[in-house]
Subunit: 382 residues, 2 copies
Amino acid sequence: MSDFKFTVHTSSTYCKARTGTVTTSHGEIQTPIFMPVGTQGSVKAIEQQWLKDIGSQIILGNTYHLSIRPGIELLREFGGLHKFMKWDKPILTDSGGFQVFSLKDLRKITEVGVQFRSHVDGAKLFFTSEEVINIQRHIGSDIMMVFDECTPYPCDYDYAKKSMERSIRWELRCLEAHKTQPLLYEHSQALFAIGQGSVYPELRKMCLEELCNHDFDGIAIGGLAVGEPAENMYEIVDKSTDVIPKEKPRYLMGVGTPQNILRNIALGIDMFDCVMPTRNARNGTLFTTTGRVNIRNNQNKNSHEPIDAGLDNALSQTYSRAYLRHLFMANEIVGLQLATIQNLNFYLWLVKTAREKINEGTFTTWANSFINEFYPETRVSA
Amino acid sequence: MSDFKFTVHTSSTYCKARTGTVTTSHGEIQTPIFMPVGTQGSVKAIEQQWLKDIGSQIILGNTYHLSIRPGIELLREFGGLHKFMKWDKPILTDSGGFQVFSLKDLRKITEVGVQFRSHVDGAKLFFTSEEVINIQRHIGSDIMMVFDECTPYPCDYDYAKKSMERSIRWELRCLEAHKTQPLLYEHSQALFAIGQGSVYPELRKMCLEELCNHDFDGIAIGGLAVGEPAENMYEIVDKSTDVIPKEKPRYLMGVGTPQNILRNIALGIDMFDCVMPTRNARNGTLFTTTGRVNIRNNQNKNSHEPIDAGLDNALSQTYSRAYLRHLFMANEIVGLQLATIQNLNFYLWLVKTAREKINEGTFTTWANSFINEFYPETRVSA
């Protein structure tokens, strides 16, 4: 019935890195992949044709935001988000869990679900497993995510355990809801589970073992990059990818810096998403093939250097850093566009290069040297 | 010496409309033309390649803004604005006069020039004819504008006369400064005069007759679209184009609505610039081939209609009005981009169609019917 498929091609000899292909109704995704975040049906500051031009293979939409604006009735009338936003490649939707749990003071969690208030008009909303699947069915994403609780950091063991167990129950209700409802549009939708358990390896293991007993199309690792030290994150990812069966795509949610991405690829992660490249672009922080650049910095004032000579992209090659700096100093919108294109292009270049190096058997050497030379910083993405 | 040339092709039998070609060192401009405004070295919200794709033949830069940011030293180091912003087609720079005179309480006018304060850091600045030419020489625009005083509306006769006479003296100093300095870059620069005289036809005539005695490459009509009734503007333009010799390109500064443009083409204007299409785009007001659209309006909520089915542009054809409305409601930057592209594309379509109709001999009929059907409003652009 489902068009969804995952095939592993090459696995590294020196680490757990691997290349593969995820197949969806809207085409293939070469992994490891970075997925630009398009919260409200638009990847901020970059139009869809440009997104394609820089090689985006899949983008994210956000269930919570899209359910509020434009709303599921309108999406249904348009035949789903792909048609509404004119994006014919794959879309993954998160479950809204992360956003709901960010609204700390505005929500109430029960076994049934979460009651909270809309950030737009304060209206009372109630998210349950069934509702979250229903919304994603109307969005028509190729990959849906289960509803879960993303615990904060730090989180005490008892709460992390209680929450993780409840998340599993919610996730199984999502699977049930997904299986028992007919397709809304003419393409199939996959469903990924999300492992939780905070920074406690035994909870993580317990959670993933249970989830992997069920028929999810892929497994995500959630609840990381929420403030924990980077080494905690790597430890949890390492132990998690040991538990998740090799034939399932593994998605690390909300991560991260270029270093985070390469190190997690080495730990066996196939899919990433993060607002870092797009959000930082709008603040004037560029990610380039030769490191981070604060474009507003005075040292770029007279720089004839292209935005990024290392990227095969007309815009990054054409415009000078001095010009881009000028656009930021003068608050010109085109600055946000150019910086966004640069950063996403860099992230897509990073995972593409990782795929090539894995296939060539030189990933570990290349990744270590690239990190040491250009991205030695150890922060975890916010 | 100069590459500048203007050739009239077809003149309408029923009105003063005409088609022509302006030749500059950076290529030809087919007139009547609309020139998108790129105040600070960027046409707001549209990247240069897109500007070209929608058929922009020439853009504006602003002398005052560019002198403050990025400054003339940097522009000189980059070899001028064309190279700095990577725009290889013609550029026209206004003289800064309009901006300086907008700073009502911050300036002091003397015979020598105008003292005022920077809107960025409050620094004291002094603009004279010689300085304004010097700045434009560093910018390297293909068409420079003289320094003048743009009088407000209303303006009493005595002040309008005194100011107009001083403007003429300033303009002749500009011409002198221009002729006596060598070229800074490898291309030539033309200089246009600006007629003033508020809404007094005899002052306008006096001013233009004097200016046309000198060797300016083109003649602009300034000081209009500053709050006067539309019929005043048309009367002044009509009388002005009777005075300006046919062989000079005529540029009406800061105008206007689609109706304003067509009616002024009928009165013999060749060149237009206005922030209307770009500024309105960012407020969600679209100009389309079937009239004005407030995209935020609730009636667009479910609209499957393309942004503008009448324009030969992938973006205007691809995206629905409902999607563009959603982007505006959700404050997405891509909404500003799509609306800007639509509006500039429409303005360029408007003048292109005007050129075709003039050449076919059907301009008057077409323009009247287009105005009546789609742009009957009588406002003058702000």
